[in-house]
């Protein structure tokens, strides 16, 4: 389904004849500035009373042209842009991008860097799900849980800040490893979070799963069958809520995910409540992964020693002419992957995320195509919403968890 083609222009207002009354559908415009469209999503909704007869998303309000920008930056500079698409799960985008380029370059990433990448990506997944919960229940009218989830997220953002220097748009991963090693105290901070977070999860359970109004607002709302979910290309927790146990961390492991023991929670219900539940269970699994990765974190280099990719150490620059040449070449024009293309599917907090990077042998990508989960997941919105109430639409948007930067790129 192309969203534009079946979009608002093609629609005509249907008029029905029911009894003595002539009834008309009411077309209402939701967004791009609306309290709960999670950014600049615009929806054109045809309402029959409060029942949704048709809904079509109109996207593009946050189009930034990232894919084109990639073509005019060196491969290493690309990490500045990748995390800006999905600013809620930035490490996930960084990881997906560097993995594809590393596949092109055939780079060898040291184990320590792999572990740190996994830790940060999983913590970021938790932070992303916290936003999901906070805003999700905010969309149902409960104010306080949002502040609870923000409180825990703050702890994570502090960790990310200590590592990368910023609270969002991290740009910390590099092709071939990391920008630098994690600071002292990183391990301690992460362990403190691991220790405190399970207690907070109990609080969330009280606010969500045990709350009667929350349950009645989500149970049976926006049901997507297994077939519908697959048809619309749904991925991520929302797909797993519809009964398909697809998780790229298991299906096509990358970054050493095959080393860690974790489960892929699935549900066969497929409603909004299941989509909430999946994310709750996923946070537990992420904690497990982080714990295992942290236990196996050993000192070592965090950059591929390959001089084609990584800058030589500072000390060598004073003694080795060769090092100076490599340094100069890398800084001024970057590295040149061989001709070809690479795509590594990863599991972001929202679903399948992958960068299709095409190289023509130059120092900048010939083309970068990003398979973003938010955009594709948004397609199932229509299937989930039609026939439901207007108030359910808000819940459905929330449980599809779109990040508009991720949708519009």
């Amino acid at each position: 389904m192309s969203m534009r083609a079946s979009g608002y222009q093609a629609m005509t207002v249907a008029e029905e004849q029911s009894g003595d009354f002539e009834t008309k559908l009411m077309r209402i415009n939701v967004g791009p500035q609306h309290p709960s469209t999670h950014g600049v999503l615009r929806l054109v909704v045809d309402l029959d009373g409060e029942v949704i007869a048709r809904i079509s998303p109109v996207i593009g309000y946050l189009h930034t042209g990232f894919e084109k920008t990639f073509e005019h930056r060196t491969y290493q500079q690309g990490v500045t842009y990748s995390n800006r698409m999905d600013y809620v799960h930035g490490f996930g985008h960084d990881l997906a991008y560097v993995l594809s380029v590393e596949k092109l370059m055939d780079a060898c990433v040291p184990e320590r860097a792999q572990r740190i990448r996994v830790i940060l990506t999983e913590l970021n997944r938790i932070a992303s799900h916290l936003i999901f919960f906070g805003t999700g229940i905010l969309d149902m009218g409960a104010l306080t849980p949002f502040f609870y989830t923000m409180r825990e997220r703050e702890q994570l953002l502090d960790i990310f800040e200590s590592v990368s220097g910023v609270r969002m748009n991290y740009g910390y991963f590099r092709v071939g490893g990391l920008a630098c090693d994690v600071p002292e105290g990183f391990e301690h901070d992460v362990r403190a979070f691991l220790a405190s977070f399970p207690k907070m999860m109990d609080q969330y359970a009280a606010m969500f799963a045990k709350n009667d109004i929350f349950v009645s607002r989500t149970k049976g709302v926006g049901v997507l069958s297994r077939e519908q979910a697959l048809e619309h290309g749904l991925t991520g927790p929302s797909l797993r809520a519809s009964g398909v146990p697809l998780d790229f961390r298991k299906a096509e492991p990358y970054s050493g995910y095959e080393d860690y023991a974790f489960d892929v929670p699935t549900s066969t219900v497929g409603d909004a409540s299941a989509r909430f539940e999946m994310r709750m269970l996923e946070m537990e699994q992420s904690l497990r992964i982080v714990e295992q990765a942290l236990d196996r974190l050993e000192p070592g280099p965090v950059q591929d020693p390959d001089r084609r990719i990584s800058l030589p150490p500072r000390s060598e620059l004073e003694t080795s002419m060769e090092a100076v040449i490599f340094h100069f070449k890398l800084v001024t024009e970057g590295f040149h992957p061989p001709r070809g293309a690479a795509y590594v599917p990863t599991e972001s907090a929202r679903g399948e995320l992958g960068y299709y990077v095409v190289s023509d042998g130059g120092s900048m990508p010939y083309r970068v195509k990003v398979r973003v989960p938010s955009l594709v997941n948004l397609q199932s919105l229509e299937a989930a919403c039609v026939g439901g109430l207007f108030a359910d639409m808000v819940v459905n948007i929330a449980t599809m968890d779109p990040v508009m930067g991720d949708v519009d790129k």
Binding site: I28, P35, E50, G141, L143, F147, I213, M393
Partner: protein, 337 residues
């Protein structure tokens, strides 16, 4: 009987007090919400943020007063007035203390024989303000909001009216002051159960009456932006806010008067401070504060019901429970007493 000008003066004072209380309720609500949400709430404007309501009032007066182009101009202006006028006038029937206790004056505006009916009627008229405002705005969101408020009123008014019946049957009067003097709880222990049930049903209906979480559908921000208020700005918007808070206060006072002994204080304090239970106003305010806090607490805790769920709740549970309480009261009065 007091001279007419005294009554007018009292009405004027009451309006000013209610509006002042509204202003500070917004501050109290924001501070309490802040406490419940790991944050401070407004605390920059004056000590403890005490000047915040004044700043807010000034701000809303100076905001541009927008009238939507295709709005029905007359109704658009009149609708918020309806809301606030009826919200304010409902409070007049509530007795604030025993006769002649307020510096020799009666602490109420008017001592109506049909006080209960009067308050039920006047608070219901307030919905017209919401409905007409949403209708006249010529905005689809506002229309949805006003539709919801009409759907809501027929769902909870039944429960509201029926749960009052128990009290009326026990007290045998519609006069609020006499209901307080009778003290419905002291009539017979057999009546405690139906009274408790009726009290619960009434409190729940009352929350729907004042459009507060979890029944704040007409202004569900996350769905229909601000519902019936979407197109309102400046002082007209402030009037709606006033009406909402004044309604909250009226309803709190109404619950206290019907079920919690209204203006009467606890008699166990009498041995220490003689006459304390007869002091006017303060006991009513103290009881109102409990319910005001409850409203704020619920707002911080609960998500919003969907509107079909509210209707189902109103018709299938609230109505039945209130009816049951009424029947039980009737049975107790007929067969036990």
């Amino acid at each position: 009987m007091e001279p007419l000008w005294v009554t007018f003066l009292k009405a004027l004072v009451l309006c000013l007090v209610l509006l002042g209380a509204f202003a500070y309720m917004t501050l109290i609500e924001r501070r309490i919400l802040g406490r419940m949400q790991h944050r401070y709430g407004p605390n920059r404007t004056g000590p403890l943020g005490l000047l915040q309501p004044i700043a807010d009032a000034l701000k809303s007066v100076f905001k541009e007063d927008i009238t939507v182009t295709n709005a029905d101009k007359v109704i658009y202006v009149v609708a918020p007035m309806i809301s606030i006028i009826f919200a304010l006038s409902a409070f007049g029937a509530i007795p604030g203390g025993p006769a002649g206790s307020l510096f020799g004056l009666d602490p109420w505006i008017i001592d109506l024989e049909i006080g209960v009916l009067y308050i039920l009627a006047v608070t219901s008229v307030g919905v017209y303000g919401i409905f007409l405002g949403g209708w006249a705005s010529n905005s689809k969101y506002a229309l949805l909001g006003s539709m919801r408020s009409s759907a809501q009123i027929i769902s909870y008014e039944l429960g509201l009216g029926l749960s009052v019946l128990s009290v009326i049957m026990i007290a045998g009067t519609l006069n609020l002051r006499e209901i307080v003097e009778v003290n419905v709880w002291s009539v017979s222990p057999w009546l405690w159960l139906p009274l408790l049930v009726a009290f619960g049903a009434f409190v729940v209906s009352a929350i729907a009456e004042v459009n507060r979480t979890p029944f704040d559908l007409p202004e569900a921000e996350q769905e229909i932006v601000a519902g019936y208020m979407t197109e309102y700005s400046s002082i007209k918007w402030a009037l709606y806010q006033m009406a909402e808070y004044v309604n909250m206060m009226t309803v709190s006072a109404f619950i206290s008067t019907l079920f919690l002994g209204g203006y009467r204080g606890p008699t166990f304090l009498e041995p220490w401070i003689p006459g304390i239970s007869e002091w006017p106003i303060i006991w009513l305010v103290a009881k109102m504060a409990i319910f005001m806090f409850l409203f704020i607490w619920l707002r911080a805790t609960l998500p919003r019901l969907r509107y079909d769920q509210l209707m189902r709740f109103g018709w299938l549970y609230l109505f039945e429970v209130a009816l049951g309480a009424t029947l039980l009261t009737g049975a107790v009065i007929a067969f036990v007493l």
